[in-house]
Symmetry: C2
Subunit: 311 residues, 2 copies
């Protein structure tokens, strides 16, 4: 196999109570990438459509993630006799808060791993994809690349060493994502956070995270709903997203289990039980956002069990 075409899905990170540790994988929304073996060694980004992103390997999320992978192999003493060319066809808008950079990072390492005969598991690939995230956000984090690669829900237990737990999504769970076409810079979203938080809020948040994990393992949609709360981050970040409270409340009033900020925003997500409720919630969220005059996209998606895959 000398060439591969892959689909790298969008993801929702944080999910209210799982700041920096939890994520889920979406279906239907994602980038496509084509990765080819090339005679010239190294990594070359040959084409990018759908976004204005740098072609220089070291400045591109996919390039940096790919380099992390091939440099690791070289470090282990296994010479790769060829290089790789990467085409990126972005469908996920940059800065939308549904893992645009992560999709590129995940796709690059997934595709190269396939062309090399799968020396690494998907879990192992998360380590390399994380390196790409540094280009986009300044830090190695796995809360989008892990669900993008692995599908389902993922919990990042810790980083030393990286410990990612994949959790199957309950079969009737749907995500609705409303993406307002405004920019919330990750740096701004980080700047509003407080480095110190009340212990009592941490206890509340931890209880909800535990409840959410328990709800996922027991397919308890009510428990999932009761747990989808965020007392730490949402109160600080929601002001960056016009009409956030209104859209969230609309989602809940129309039957969503929970609703919150996707990643660092500006996308607003809702989780729902069943397609019918998801469609009703999506319609209500759309109607609610039309009042703002801000352009937006809306997606309805089951939870994607597969993650990044060959197409």
């Amino acid at each position: 196999m000398n060439e591969i075409k892959i689909f790298c899905p969008a993801t929702i990170a944080n999910l209210n109570c799982g700041f920096d540790i939890l994520g889920l994988c979406l279906e239907g929304i994602g980038d496509e990438m084509i990765i080819k073996k090339s005679a010239e060694k190294g990594i070359k980004i040959t084409k990018i459509t759908g976004a204005n992103l740098p072609l220089e390997t070291e400045k591109n999320v996919a390039g940096v993630a790919a380099l992390a992978l091939i440099n690791y192999i070289a470090f282990k003493g296994d010479a790769i006799k060829h290089g790789f060319e990467i085409e990126i066809h972005k469908k996920i808008k940059a800065g939308s808060g549904i893992g645009s950079s992560s999709a590129s990072a995940a796709g690059a390492v997934f595709g190269i791993n396939e062309l090399l005969g799968k020396p690494f598991s998907k879990h192992e690939l998360v380590n390399f994809a994380m390196k790409g995230e540094v280009v986009a956000s300044g830090s190695e984090h796995a809360d989008n690349v892990a669900p993008c690669l692995l599908g389902g829900f993922t919990l990042v237990r810790g980083y030393n060493p990286l410990d990612v737990i994949r959790i199957d999504a309950p079969s009737e769970l749907y995500a609705v994502v409303l993406h307002p076409n405004i920019e919330v810079k990750t740096s701004d979203a980080r700047a509003v956070l407080h480095p110190m938080i009340p212990l009592k809020d941490a206890i509340t948040q931890t209880g909800n995270l535990g409840g959410l994990i328990a709800g996922l393992y027991t397919n308890d949609y009510n428990l999932i709903g009761r747990s989808l709360k965020d007392v730490l981050i949402e109160p600080l970040r929601k002001h960056l997203i016009p009409n956030f409270d209104q859209v969230k409340n609309t989602a809940l009033q129309n039957g969503a289990l929970g609703s919150g900020i996707s990643g660092a925003g500006p996308s607003i997500f809702a989780l729902c039980k069943g397609q019918e409720i998801a469609e009703k919630v999506a319609l209500a969220m759309s109607e609610s956002y039309q009042n703002t005059g801000i352009e937006f996209d809306i997606h309805i998606s089951k939870i994607n069990p597969e993650g990044t895959k060959i197409i």
Copy 2:
């Protein structure tokens, strides 16, 4: 049924990453209580053995919990035509950190509920037992009374309203508890805590709590072990317990999955996979603690699936 004898087990709360929200139920270690219907209305504590505790109903944990239950029934308009007499035979030492007060509170409400023909579920009884905890610690908390009543592991997702999730323990899981015969006042254990904590530590703790819950649902002992970490509370409280680090490290070196402070201390617990390792760990912890010259008790226990029960 006019009289009932019950067993109310000891419990371990906090469990490293689950401060104020997580607990488990022990086997073999627990108080006994005898509860009788009496002609005189109200709650009367008639006898306490094994501890120097107040007989006045309003000053006694069991009494206050029992009053909470019968007052609720009266509030709902159902007259109880008799009262209850409570005998408490303490086996769990007060201030040991394994839920001594909780056992009394749980036992009282469990026993009265049985004599009344079970108007409440065990989950509902947690609400009343919590009221007793106020006498002992100044606050309503459920992290010991919930596992004491329900058995297994319990997660307190939140309090408004009380939301307790019971989780089965993996079948080969054993707890070892070393109780140094010293007093750590709950007020002192609370005083060393900081009301504000670093956000990054909260994220680490939440990741571990998520990992522990996932490990319990999947019987993944290694994951349970990796998750039994406490970056928030143990570093502040361990100084209150002589030789804590030494005992903990001994437990881990001898194969324990994890080890930490039971409740607010001074008891030190270890969780182990299988009886053989638990016995080895208990022996090593005992040998380690003999150097201190402090008297101690040590217990080995499976996780109790039943909680408070009739005997």
